[in-house]
Symmetry: C2
Subunit: 106 residues, 2 copies
């Protein structure tokens, strides 16, 4: 999870989740780890990249929009999203984007 995701040739989709954390992080680390594990089991999941300083950015990659919709409505993920809104984040933004091209280091 600390590396660059080995995604296939475009097109595919990216979910860019940018967030600022609150001071109430009880249960956050366990849930974040579980969500990474659970996401990786979902159909259409291609990879994930994540880092945090003050701002956290998690980019997950998916083969298609239906896979993203299913993941968004996964029951365990819905519970995590609710905890995120109620406790762990002071602000966040989610962007759904279609990756059209990519370039590796030459």
């Amino acid at each position: 999870m600390s590396g660059i995701a080995d995604t296939p040739k475009p097109p595919y989709y990216a979910v860019i989740f940018s967030s600022l954390q609150s001071n109430d992080l009880e249960g956050y680390a366990e849930t974040a780890a579980r969500m990474l594990e659970l996401a990786a089991e979902q159909p259409g999941f291609l990879g994930v990249e994540s880092c945090r300083e003050q701002l956290g950015i998690t980019v997950s990659y998916w083969s298609d929009l239906d896979s993203i919709r299913r993941w968004k409505s996964n029951a365990e993920h819905l519970q995590a999203q609710q905890n995120g809104r109620r406790r762990w984040y002071t602000n966040y933004k989610t962007r759904i984007a279609r990756v059209e091209r990519d370039y590796d280091m030459p």
Copy 2:
């Protein structure tokens, strides 16, 4: 630069730059700061988000693909890219994506 970018309604474009640094970071911090400053002056620039742990992720947002192409070929930016390839990064990947939808924290 430590916050969530205040981007307009989609569609717009995201450049997702994911990188792993080398141990030779001489000149890196100054150049990174300068590139953020210079990017923000470019036509079509909408905002940027960035963080780094082991992996670094910088997502810059742009109004259209032409603006991204112009920024990619900016002379001072080309020099920075070359230093990145030769010295500062052991690996990176750049993805160009069209943001189709976004969601704020309710």
